[in-house]
């Protein structure tokens, strides 16, 4: 039972960003008992939040209106309160109203909806491109603008979570994260090698199908450093639930160092990140580990 944990989380409504330790960058992952969307990390997700904040009151109001009307007729027009029923079966005015009012509400919804849609879908001039390829059951990342290295990111095993060099999460942490610099506009190319996958990153407001034979593109820009988690979101077989996505947003100098290391050997490059986080913590765990 996880009631205590959940009650605590309910108390911290919508606060799903938790900063582990002191100066560590924020990690974004689902919090037990969470009720709403994950906190935003990109301009697109900002608009998603704004739009959801418009939609939620509208749909709650409509549901409560229907509930209230039902409660009213059940109280006022039950057999005891109203023994003889009326025979009314037409009222042109109310019929026009309940046709026109929903149309008006839909128009109100449509304006921010289209603004979000076109903002999200029209890709601005990007600083660089990363290509990711979904495989059964991991993700290949390529950096064509930074030396064209590539690597395959797998989920870490459950037994490694506790001993992982940085804060790690079951079913979310990968052995080799995708890394981008703070403030860069990144163009993501998404495709797949075998079956359809989906590269999803909740905090970015991104969910893009990875389809064999197609090259989909999307974009994001993150202005604060952080660690972000997402999960494959298109059924892809046996280990569909176990091919997560992990993105580290780091300062430009750390990114440059990581790029340099990745051009040597991408599978050793995460050491640069660990060293960076250790430095933030004022520790030198990398040295002692060696």
């Amino acid at each position: 039972m996880r009631f205590p944990a959940a009650l605590g989380a309910i108390g911290a409504l919508f606060f799903t960003l938790t900063a582990a330790a002191t100066a560590m960058p924020a990690q974004s992952y689902p919090i037990d008992g969470q009720l709403g969307l994950p906190p935003s990390a990109t301009p697109v997700m900002d608009l998603v939040h704004d739009f959801h904040n418009i939609l939620l009151p509208i749909i709650i109001a409509i549901s409560l209106l229907v509930l209230g009307l039902l409660a009213w007729v059940m109280v006022r027009y039950n057999k005891k309160a109203n023994p003889t029923p009326s025979k009314t079966s037409h009222n042109t005015l109310v019929e026009v109203i309940w046709t026109a009012a929903p149309i008006l509400i839909l128009v109100i919804i449509a304006i921010p909806s289209f603004r979000l849609l076109y903002f999200q879908d029209v890709i601005p001039e990007a600083d660089f491109t990363i290509k990711t390829t979904g495989n059964q059951w991991n993700w290949t990342y390529e950096y064509p603008d930074h030396g064209d290295f590539q690597y395959v990111a797998n989920m870490i095993a459950d037994e490694d979570v506790a001993s992982w060099p940085i804060e790690a999460h079951r079913n979310l942490t990968t052995d080799l994260p995708m890394v981008v610099p703070v403030g860069a506009t990144v163009r993501m190319e998404v495709t797949a090698s075998d079956v359809i996958h989906n590269w999803a990153m909740p905090a970015f407001g991104i969910k893009m199908d990875a389809i064999p034979g197609r090259l989909n593109e999307t974009w994001f820009r993150v202005d604060e450093p952080g660690v972000f988690y997402g999960q494959c979101s298109e059924l892809c077989g046996l280990r569909h639930a176990f091919m997560p996505i992990e993105v580290h947003v780091v300062p430009q100098d750390v990114f440059d160092a990581w790029i340099e290391a990745a051009n040597e050997d991408p599978y050793e490059a995460p050491r640069v990140l660990y060293a960076h986080y250790d430095a933030l913590r004022g520790e030198t765990r990398v040295a002692s580990a060696q």
């Binding site: 992952y29 994950p38 549901s63 007729v73 057999k79 893009m208 979101s233 569909h240």
Partner: protein
């Protein structure tokens, strides 16, 4: 519409219910309707047990059921692939073998001829084959779970949408071929049924019953079967292309040969979206009758109600790509599908408000069917408004394929379609079986269902907003709490299901004789002018409708 002439009794021709020929060779719409209902109950129990395995697996983080580990009794339920098989089969069974047979085959067969004053369906023998194809189709799809699917694992685990390449190169075993054949046969059954209903409704209405005097349930079935007739062949075509891609070297959906996996999705959802209206429209019809009967008032805005269903049916064919916002559609195309999808809210709103207006000024008695009908109206509204949220392609990037979607479509189907089926079942129980049921047990079942289903599905909105993807056998630890709540809800609903079977046994043992019309003056359609159960052959002299 109530003025039926006295019916002549031909009960002496009624064969014994223990005579197997009565059922296997049946050409009687009421017997076939009863068989459809029993079939739907059996399929519903199997599909419901599968959802129990799903909720058991998801009750806690980690693998509970589909561990792939030998537990001492062997790996009973298998590994993560078998979880995918169970979710796939749950969806296909509930759609094709529970809701559709119950609504169209069961209630449609029973009450379309009775309500339009016809002696039987237009093509009684075709009606027989429509039904008897289904058990074989169902057998095929159940057998598919026990033959090789992919690698060393049995069954097809590609989701009810069956997207290639997962359903082609991703499942190289014969299991999916069996699923395709099962759906082809079920599709033939649906198309034959659709032809039968269209012919019956257009040609066999009693004298004086114009289309605009036809009961709304008949209207709903008419719209539904038109959707079936137009949508199912598209599914059959897509499935046939999957067969040839899998077995005969074609590349309709394989980019290596110039095909495109997305083309399958367009074909599937051109069928799939009308399909979800096929599942709910007959429920709309039933709810209209029930609300009117127990409010002792005629349906408010009859023509608006009828043409709202026609409009929903039509719009249902032009919104399919809202299931595909993440495949990389052109942005203008997405904008069109956003606009078209949101328009559905208008005729749906007309129906919701017209039901409430039917109750307004009425004299409402809260009998069991009315409880289900009121529950339906509210819960369908909740499912409807989340549909408006999902219609927006921009926010759908966050919610697509998460539990928000699962919550949405279970609110409109598990709480919408299933509640309307139970509403109809209790509305017509006496008429169908000729005995009364225990009102107390029925009310207990309603409350267990109402509470249980909401506890299952409401928390799934939170899971979806937090980003939990659907079809996941295991999830991030941060999704644990609401999953646990949701699984407790299943136990409540399962208790309701047990009460339902106690109710059936109780009714069968006590055999309290039914009344011809237990609901009084509010029940105005023709079936209430007949005895309960109706004579084996009714309306040998056609009723005249004023």
């Amino acid at each position: 519409m109530t003025d039926a002439t006295a019916t002549h009794h031909h009960d002496d021709h009624t064969p014994s219910i223990w005579d197997w020929k009565r059922w296997v060779y049946s050409t009687n719409h009421k017997d076939i309707g009863t068989m459809y209902l029993i079939f739907a109950i059996i399929a519903g129990v199997i599909g419901g047990a599968m959802s129990g395995l799903i909720r058991w697996e998801l009750a806690e983080p980690g693998l509970q059921v589909f561990t792939g580990q030998d537990t001492g009794w062997g790996a009973i339920f298998g590994n993560e692939h078998n979880y995918n098989v169970i979710t796939t089969m749950h969806g296909l069974i509930m759609i094709f073998f529970m809701v559709m047979p119950a609504m169209i085959g069961g209630f449609g067969n029973w009450f379309v001829p009775l309500m339009i004053g016809a002696p039987d369906m237009a093509f009684p023998r075709m009606n027989n084959i429509s039904f008897w194809l289904l058990p074989f189709s169902f057998a095929l799809i159940l057998i598919s779970m026990f033959v090789p699917g992919v690698g060393g694992d049995n069954g097809f685990g590609g989701g009810w949408v069956m997207y290639p390449p997962l359903s082609t190169t991703g499942h190289n075993g014969p299991a999916f071929d069996l699923v395709i054949f099962a759906l082809h046969i079920a599709g033939v059954s649906s198309i034959l049924g659709a032809i039968n209903f269209i012919t019956t409704i257009f040609n066999m209405r009693a004298p004086g019953m114009t289309l605009h005097k036809m009961p709304l349930f008949v209207w709903s079935i008419l719209v539904t079967v038109f959707l079936l007739l137009l949508a199912v062949p598209v599914l059959a075509g897509a499935l046939t292309m999957l067969i040839t891609d899998r077995n005969f070297g074609t590349t309709f959906f394989d980019p290596a040969g110039g095909g495109d996996p997305v083309m399958y999705q367009h074909l599937f959802w051109f069928f799939g979206h009308p399909e979800v209206y096929i599942l709910i429209l007959p429920g709309f019809g039933m709810i209209s009758h029930i609300v009117s009967t127990f409010s002792r008032k005629p349906v408010f805005g009859y023509l608006g109600m009828a043409y709202a269903m026609v409009a929903i049916g039509f719009i249902g064919f032009i919104v399919w790509a809202h299931h595909m916002y993440t495949v990389g559609l052109n942005v203008n195309l997405k904008a069109y599908f956003v606009a078209a999808t949101m328009i559905i809210a208008v005729p749906t709103g007309i129906k919701i408000f017209s039901w409430i207006a039917t109750m307004w000024g009425g004299s409402i008695s809260f009998r069991t069917p009315m409880l289900y009908a009121i529950g339906f109206i509210f819960l369908f509204t909740v499912g409807g408004v989340t549909g408006v949220v999902l219609a927006n392609a921009g926010i759908d990037q966050s919610l697509h394929d998460t539990y928000y979607v699962v919550a949405h479509f279970h609110y409109v189907l598990s709480l919408g379609a299933v509640f309307s089926i139970f509403a109809g079942f209790y509305y017509w129980f006496e008429k169908i079986f000729g005995v009364k049921y225990s009102s107390l047990l029925a009310r207990i079942q309603f409350w267990l269902f109402f509470v249980g289903a909401n506890v299952i599905f409401f928390p799934q909105h939170f899971l979806g907003l937090a980003g939990m993807p659907r079809r996941y056998v295991d999830y991030a630890d941060g999704h644990a709490f609401w999953n646990m709540v949701s699984s407790f809800g299943y136990l409540i609903m399962a208790a309701g299901m047990i009460v339902f079977f106690v109710l059936l046994i109780d009714a069968a043992l006590r055999r309290r004789p039914a009344e011809a019309n237990p609901w009084g003056e509010g029940a105005t359609t023709l079936e209430w002018t007949l005895s309960s159960p109706p004579p084996f052959h009714q309306f040998n002299e056609l009723p005249k409708i004023k």
